[in-house]
């Protein structure tokens, strides 16, 4: 089987992954809307997943891909819980702007 990596090159996957991850990081840091923050986290997660898969193919080893399945399953659960929390927060304080979520103040 011809390896797709031969055409595109592993470096490009790495660049894409890093760019996606940085987008995620900056999204987390700069946005105030909790849902956007949440989405940014998902982008970071998927950047890492992409890297996993790319290396898995590069090394001809399926373990990385198996791992990604687990990671996606966990991420799905996390999203469900996270969104549920966000809904609960919105019901309570009428906003999901993280600047308003000050109840954790020590």
């Amino acid at each position: 089987m011809e390896n797709i990596l031969n055409h595109i090159g592993i470096e490009n996957y790495l660049f894409l992954s890093v760019i996606l991850f940085c987008i995620g990081v900056f999204g987390v840091l700069y946005r105030r809307n909790a849902i956007i923050v949440f989405m940014s986290i998902e982008i970071m997660l998927n950047a890492v997943n992409l890297l996993f898969v790319a290396f898995s193919t590069y090394h001809q080893d399926a373990e990385g891909q198996v791992f990604v399945f687990f990671s996606m399953a966990v991420a799905a659960a996390e999203v469900a819980v996270g969104l549920a929390i966000l809904v609960a927060i919105f019901r309570n304080i009428g906003s999901i702007d993280i600047a308003n979520l000050k109840n954790l103040k020590g």
């Binding site: 990081v25 987390v28 993280i98 979520l101 103040k105 020590g106």
Partner: protein
């Protein structure tokens, strides 16, 4: 059979104690008094039985109850030994004890806590018997501590008066100092010989090969214990204060029995002291000086019981003088006669105090002779005995002490003789002030005056008879029964003084000294009708002596004040400094926490920012460094 009887001697007073503790209050005063008295009387009766037996056979009765302590090569049995010495002590402890119990029934009948009083008294007798009959020093120590406890309880019996409580505490603490010495002495002996049993100790010591230096230290420590319990200089100040207790207590504990425990201990361990002449010298000197100092304080006391208390200290000093000179049998003789006449004097003073509505100041008494003839007569006999007038018992015992002192050391003899003259003086001062001339108290007291009931006068009469004839147990004219009886206890024979011209002259001197003392008291207080001045009118030497040479104040300034000062320094300076240190550590942590808490401001953006930065730093560190 014999074992059971021995146990009854020991346990009868203890059963009396338990009975009075648990049933005394409900069963009433009559029951409490009767139970207490009978319990001690049973012990007395059995003591007489054993005494007659041992006196006849000459063989001590030894009973081993159980193995007590067994640690490596150290072994100790819990046993009872009834030998000549312990039986002698048993006889007068239980004998005088029964009389005083009898007396107390009447003396304490108005007190609401009579059952408590009798339970304490019985407990005291129990511990005193333990002290006397034990077969090793550790059992003696149990009794020793026990009588100290009972002394404390009984001095502070009228616990609502804070002064009495203070006196009780003082007695306990002073005794503690001595007890520490005693305990150290026991430890040294235990480590030297791996046993504390009298018989084994005696065998080990007389076998030779003993480290004399260690033994001297041990003997000195034991003597410190005796000093505390028997109120010798410098630990004597508790005894006069102990007069706060009810008068029967003073008679039983602080005159006749407990305070002679020190003498008993030294006599019991005579084989140790025989090998340590240095300690013997110390004992003799301490005894003689105590006799003189206490007698001189007694000259100026106005409280009838205080006079007797100082007299007791002084007489105990004479006994220690005899002990220090190695004349143990003489000391024992004086212990016995002293127990008779001093118990009689205390009970007599109790009778007077009873009649005077608890007035103890002799300046408020006088003229009681006609109203209280029995008390007067019995006290007079005891006074003549303590003053050393023949043929009363005190004459023989005191004369033997003086004789021994004269043969050993003339200065000690002079000191002891001076103390005897003073004794005669202050005792007759007491008698004249109390019983002669006119009554000086209030009208109310005058109406109340009466002779005490027969329950109180009966013990007085018995004790007076004993004070009169007690001397017969050791007459100086050869063949002293006491010396013969006690001979098995002592190493070598303490040769009886051969009665020559010197001895007769000495006797005459002693009697003359007593008569001089009496004469001076007669001239001043009966003929002259002098009454001691009120406290604030005293001046000069009299004031100094009246205040006991300011010894208590000296102890206060030298020991109590510095300790209090140190305590105050610790409380006011050291403790605040230490707690400041600890508190500042705490507030440091608190401040740091507050600083850290500022980061925790609840802004999720900041948290995320910190998270990313922190992760980046870690990342750079791990991969680039």
């Amino acid at each position: 059979m014999e074992k059971n009887l021995v146990l009854i001697v020991l346990l009868a007073p203890f059963i009396g104690f338990l009975g009075n503790v648990f049933f005394g209050k409900k069963a009433g005063k009559g029951f409490a008094g009767a139970l207490g008295t009978v319990a001690v009387a049973i012990s007395f009766a059995l003591s007489v039985y054993f005494f007659l037996q041992v006196n006849q056979t000459g063989k001590p009765i030894a009973v081993t109850l159980f193995d007590w302590i067994t640690v490596s090569n150290f072994k100790l049995d819990f046993g009872i030994v009834l030998d000549q010495l312990s039986l002698l002590w048993l006889l007068f402890v239980t004998g005088i004890g029964s009389l005083i119990h009898l007396y107390s029934i009447s003396y304490m009948h108005e007190d609401e806590n009579m059952h408590k009083f009798f339970s304490y008294l019985n407990l005291f007798v129990f511990f005193m018997i333990t002290l006397v009959v034990g077969s090793n020093i550790l059992i003696m120590f149990i009794g020793w501590e026990g009588v100290g406890l009972c002394s404390y309880l009984l001095i502070g019996f009228w616990y609502k008066n804070q002064d009495y409580n203070d006196a009780a505490k003082k007695a306990f603490i002073m005794n503690r100092i001595g007890d520490l010495g005693f305990l150290i002495g026991i430890f040294i002996l235990g480590s030297m010989f791996s046993t504390l049993d009298y018989a084994q100790l005696k065998a080990a010591i007389t076998a030779g090969n003993v480290d004399t230096t260690k033994l001297t230290v041990a003997a000195l420590c034991l003597f410190i214990g005796a000093m505390g319990k028997s109120a010798q200089l410098p630990l004597y100040t508790w005894l006069p204060d102990a007069m706060a207790g009810p008068t029967p207590v003073s008679a039983l504990i602080h005159a006749a029995t407990m305070v002679t425990a020190g003498i008993f201990m030294i006599t019991r361990l005579n084989f140790i002291f025989d090998l340590t002449p240095l300690v013997q010298n110390i004992i003799a000197i301490v005894g003689a000086v105590t006799a003189l100092v206490a007698a001189s304080i007694g000259l100026f006391q106005n409280d009838i019981k205080k006079v007797l208390a100082y007299s007791t200290v002084s007489q105990l000093g004479l006994m220690f003088l005899a002990l220090g000179l190695g004349a143990y049998n003489v000391a024992v003789f004086h212990v016995i006669t002293h127990a008779f006449f001093k118990a009689c004097l205390f009970l007599g003073s109790g009778s007077v105090i009873h009649a005077m509505y608890h007035e103890q100041d002799m300046r408020r008494m006088g003229g009681l002779r006609k109203i209280m003839p029995i008390t007067f007569a019995t006290m007079m006999i005891a006074t003549l005995a303590i003053s050393g007038i023949p043929p009363f018992s005190g004459f023989f015992s005191k004369d033997e002490i003086l004789l021994t002192a004269f043969h050993a050391n003339i200065p000690l003899w002079i000191i002891a003789s001076l103390a005897s003259i003073m004794t005669a003086f202050y005792m007759f001062r007491l008698m004249y002030l109390t019983f002669y001339r006119d009554f000086r108290g209030t009208e109310e007291q005058k109406h109340h005056l009466h002779e005490s009931p027969s329950l109180m006068t009966l013990p007085l009469i018995v004790l007076a008879i004993l004070s009169l004839v007690g001397g017969v147990i050791s007459l100086p004219f050869g063949g002293s029964w006491l010396n013969h009886y006690l001979a098995p206890l002592f190493n070598g024979s303490h040769a009886e003084h051969h009665l020559g011209t010197t001895e007769y002259i000495l006797m005459a001197v002693a009697v003359a000294g007593g008569l001089i003392g009496i004469g001076m008291a007669y001239a001043k207080f009966l003929k002259g009708g002098a009454v001691p001045k009120e406290d604030h009118e005293m001046t000069g030497l009299a004031k100094t002596i009246y205040h006991k040479y300011y010894v208590d104040e000296g102890y206060m300034a030298l020991i109590v004040k510095p300790i209090n000062g140190l305590a105050r320094f610790f409380r006011d300076t050291l403790e605040p400094a230490l707690s400041q240190l600890v508190f500042s550590l705490g507030s440091l942590a608190n401040g740091l926490g507050n600083l850290g808490a500022r980061v925790q401001n609840g802004s999720i953006g900041l948290y995320l920012f910190a998270f990313v930065i922190g992760f980046s730093v870690l990342f750079i560190y791990l991969f680039l460094a």
